[in-house]
Structure formats: structure tokens, C-alpha cells
């Protein structure tokens, strides 16, 4: 009964159907057995074998490039460099789990990467299509929307107070008060 409860999932409705819900309602007796039958081990995700990372090329030059990209000092000690090489290789082994068995890890430039999934309403069900007229009207309305909390008035945010040692002349320009 339990096995049937777990395994006899409803048939998928469409080709993209991946999630499943069992048709049987679990009885109290079946609960304990279910929870004591693990379906997988998360720790396996953390294990990275040599095979996993054999194609991952991380060397001294890549570490230095990443440090530069990160705004961090490039002249790290050999110990720190070894530690970072290991960290990047572990990370790549971990990221590899994103891909299915036999699926090639993607290489930049092979396909378009101008889309990105986000949980924003305008990405899925946009209210009204943006037109040039709407855009121009929004720009015209901007002066009425300046907000002192956002620092959009001159002197609404005191640069000195953000850090007492700041030179007040050393500041980005604010929008003039209208």
C-alpha cells in the first residue's frame, strides 16, 4: 500500500509535466514508513571527484584575473592561491550538478543569454506595453517624484554624515531642487 502510495503518481498532463502527486491519501500507519525511506543523500552533491573536475582549468593566472575582477589584491600568498584554486574547483564540481547526466556544460557564446528568469510581474504579465508616449510622460512627471530619502534634493543627504571623514566637496551631484 505504501509503495503504491509513493510510486503510483498521476500520469503527467502534458509533455512538460515533471512534478507528480500521488493519488492515494496516506494513512497514519504509512507515514512513519514513508519518512524512514530516504529518497537520496544530499551529501553526494558535496562530493567532487577528480573526474568531475578534470576539465576544469583553474591556475594561477585565472586566480589573479578573478581577484582583479573582484576588486581584491592579486598578490596573494601561495597558500591562499592554493586554497582559492581548490575552492573554485569544488565550486565547479558543485555547479556541474546543474547539468543532467551526459549533458554538456554550456560554453559561453553558443547561445543567446539575453533572457533571465525572475519573479517579477512585468516579466510575465506586463500591465501595459511601454510606448514612447508613456515613456515621455513618465520623464515629464519625474520632477514631481523627487524624494529626499533617496538623496534627490540638493543636500537632502549630508555626505559628511555617511562618513565623518568625508570631504563635502568629494561627492556626486544631486538633482537640483525644482
Amino acid at each position: 500500500m505504501l509503495r503504491r502510495g509513493i510510486r503510483s503518481f498521476s500520469i503527467s498532463i502534458g509533455t512538460c509535466q515533471k512534478a507528480k502527486v500521488s493519488q492515494e491519501v496516506l494513512s497514519r500507519d504509512e507515514i512513519s514508513k514513508l519518512l524512514n525511506t530516504p529518497t537520496w543523500k544530499v551529501g553526494d552533491l558535496m562530493k567532487t571527484t577528480e573526474e568531475d573536475i578534470q576539465d576544469v582549468k583553474v591556475d594561477s593566472s585565472i586566480i589573479r584575473k578573478m581577484l582583479k575582477l573582484s576588486g581584491l589584491k592579486e598578490d596573494v600568498s601561495p597558500e591562499r592561491e592554493t586554497e582559492l584554486i581548490r575552492a573554485l574547483k569544488l565550486q565547479m564540481g558543485f555547479i556541474k550538478k546543474l547539468y543532467g547526466t551526459g549533458e554538456e556544460m554550456s560554453v559561453r557564446g553558443k547561445k543567446s543569454n539575453d533572457t533571465n528568469f525572475r519573479l517579477m510581474a512585468e516579466d510575465h504579465k506586463p500591465d501595459t506595453p511601454l510606448t514612447l508616449d508613456i515613456l515621455l510622460a513618465e520623464i515629464d512627471a519625474l520632477p514631481n517624484k523627487v524624494d529626499p530619502e533617496k538623496g534627490e534634493f540638493t543636500s537632502s543627504i549630508d555626505i559628511k554624515k555617511l562618513r565623518s571623514s568625508n570631504n563635502p566637496l568629494f561627492s556626486s551631484k544631486s538633482i537640483e531642487k525644482v
Partner: protein, 475 residues
Amino acid sequence: MVMGMRTSMSMSMHMRMSRRGLTAVRAYGTLTNKSCDRTNSVIWRCDDSDSDSVGSGSGVLSGTSFIVKDNIATKVGYTTAASKSLHDYQSPFDATVVRLLRHQGSKLVGKANLDEFGMGSSTTNSMFGPTINPKYDNEDRIAGGSSGGSAAAVAADMASFSLGTDTGGSVRLPASYCGVVGFKPTYGRISRWGVIPYAQTLDTVGILSKDVDIVEKVYEVLNQYDEKDPTCMTTKVRNNIVSTAKGQLTIGIPEQFIIEELDQDTKIAWELTLHKLVQLGHSLKVVSIPSIKKSLSTYYTLATAEAASNLSRYDGIRYGYKSDNNNEDDTIVSSRCESFGQEVQRRIILGNYTLSSESGDHYLKAAQVRQELVQEFNQVFKLPHPLLENELKLNNCDVLVSPTALSKPPTLKEYDEKNEENFLNSYLNDILTVPASLAGLPTISIPINGTGIQFMTQYGDDSILFSIARDVLHS
């Protein structure tokens, strides 16, 4: 040498904080104060004289007090995100959530410790030192993170409730470890204006308290559109959301959460919860959501990449820590190196590597897997998703239930040893919390039999969670 320097910085910070209406109760993990508790959960306490901390005196939260995680901006005191890079940052404004709470009569009494910038699940990566779990009197166990200070503070009765932030479980895991209620809203429900960003497609503001009724009341105050936050759910979307009605519900048990690492006490608590749900008249079904198994890799690809981008703003120029190095060419690099902790630096490097041409298109792949996960969650819920097409629904479940943590919290020593062995080990626990974060689902964790059990509902269906939590807690 280092200790001396830290103490000196702590003391000068203490004096400055007092002038700004806050008192540093402990700083850099070295300066102790007789009034401070052993948990090191609250890093700044408000002085009673400070008008910026006191609420309006009337309102639905009148008579309550609250503590906010120190990555949420307050005009009173400093907002540091537990990072040396923001050690002297004074916000010129209150975060929207702080303003709304004070407007409804609640009093801000302090700011809570966290993992630096929210990066961690232990509250041990903080410039203020680790937070100790108040649930365990004679042992130094971690409080969970990154909102460990917020959870420990309410567990130790320092305030009626606290605010944390939850990017991949940072409210729910510490709530589970400290034995309190922790609520993560639907992504976009609660304004993030004034919240220091970590991973902007995942960050949410959550609520913690011993009392689920208070959590609900605070949620009702904060649940509103804020035009200052471009990711905040619009009023139109809010109005179109259908909510689950109270009554007999179908509860799903995701089989991907039945994992080998769950300890016996956790399984007993889960089983007890399921029995309670059956007693309450609800029915249980097993659910399969295959993409859950890929959720950890997805999360750490997206979160580190977004963190690398978000933290590029800390340059030591306009605000935050500035290096004493007088070489102008090195100001940015020196300031960042001297002020970011090791874990933050590692995540920035990992994020940049993930995004680089040396690595591949993994951010894009992770976003695709995230989309699949969202679709799979959507297929098992009865309610329609307010943002997505819903033609492939199985129409079966109202709520999903699982443990929040794999086991009770480890000691600080155990945690450090595991992490040193392989830093990926610290990601393990997140398998239970990260899927709801990636799908933006509302989730509540409640204390059952010494551990946390979490309930998840469809995107936007937050309200029913309080009713389920109350029923299970009181049955």
C-alpha cells in the same frame, strides 16, 4: 596586536554609538559589557532617550518592541551588515519596514547580529563575533543564520518580535535552531527599500517571534506596496491573488525532502506534525518535485553571482571603510581587502568566476533550472500562480510540509571543523529551505518537538500559513 586594535576600535565605536542613541553592547567579539547576555545576539541597543526608536504610541503594534537585523537601515545608530566595510555607516533614512512598524506603535530596541552581508547559515561570520544559541544553557551551539541574532534575541525574550532577511533560509533555519516561529513572505510582498542587498532576485524580509499571532499582525502591517522598491509586488498583482480558504486541506509531502541526512528527532517531529494534520481533518499526499535536487547548485550559482555584483559598490569612496593606504591607485582594492571577511571574499570570487568566460554560461543554466523548479511547484498547487500560465496544473495540494533543518544545531566547534574540511558542507542544511526561496514561495517555520517544521504555499498565498501554524501549534 590585532586584538588590541580591535578593542580600541570597539571602544571608540561604543562612544560614538552612545551619542547616536544606541549603545554597543558588544563589538568585534572582544569588548564585553556586564549588561550583555552570553548569546551576543543584539549588537546595538537603543537608548530610551532616543526619539527615533520610539513608536507613535498608538497603532495595532502599540506596546510591542522589536529588533532588526543589522543589514536593515535605521536612522538611529549604525547599519553595518556585520561587516567592517560598513563599520561606521549611518543611514540617512529608515528602511520602509522600520518606518511602518514605528508608525504602528512598535518600539525599536536594538539591532541584531548576522553573518556578514547575510552570507552564511551560522551567524559566525560576523565582525561582532558569533551568536550563541540561547536554547542551550551549557553548550555553545550555533544559532543558525544568517539572521541568528534576530532569532536568538526573540528566543531570549529581548523583544516581542524581530526582523531578519531570508535569501535562502536565513530566517527559517535560525528560527528552527532557536525554537521560535520564523516567517518568510512571498518574494516581493514586503518592501526591501533600505535593506542591504545580497542577492536581489531572492532577498526577502522575514519576521520572527515566539508568538505566531504577533508574526501575523506584523505581516499585516508590512504587507503593502512600496513604490521605492522596484521589486515590490504591485497593488494590481496583490488584488488579483486568490487565497486558500480555511477548511480541509490537502497537504503534500515532497519526497525529495525525505533525505538520508535527516536525524531521528527531526523525523519524529515531522511525523508528529503529519499526525496532527490528519487529526485536524486534512489529507496527506506524496509529491515529487524533481528539480529540488538541483536547487542547491542553482541557488549557489545565482546567489554568488548576484553577490559579486551587489558588493562591487563597496569601494571605500563615499561611505564605509576606507583604507589608510595613501596610494590612490590602491584605495579601492585595499579598502575591500581590509574590510571584507574571508567568506564574503570567497563568495565574491566564486560569483565572478561563475560569471566569467573561463567558467561558462552557468548563471543562465541556473536561471533555467530555477524556472523549471517554479513550474514544478506551480503544477502541484491547487491555486493559480499570479505571475505564470497555469495550464499544466495537477490541482492537488494546498500546502507542502517538511522539516526546516536536518538536525539540531551543531556546536561552534563541530560547525567550524565541518566547514574547514569542505566549505560546501555549510550548504547542506540549505537543501530544505532553498527551494522555496528560488520559487519565491511564502513559508513559515514553527517549533515542533525541539525542531522546526515548515509549511509552504503557492506564490502569494501567505495568509493561510498563519492559520495552519496556529492550528498545529495549538493541537
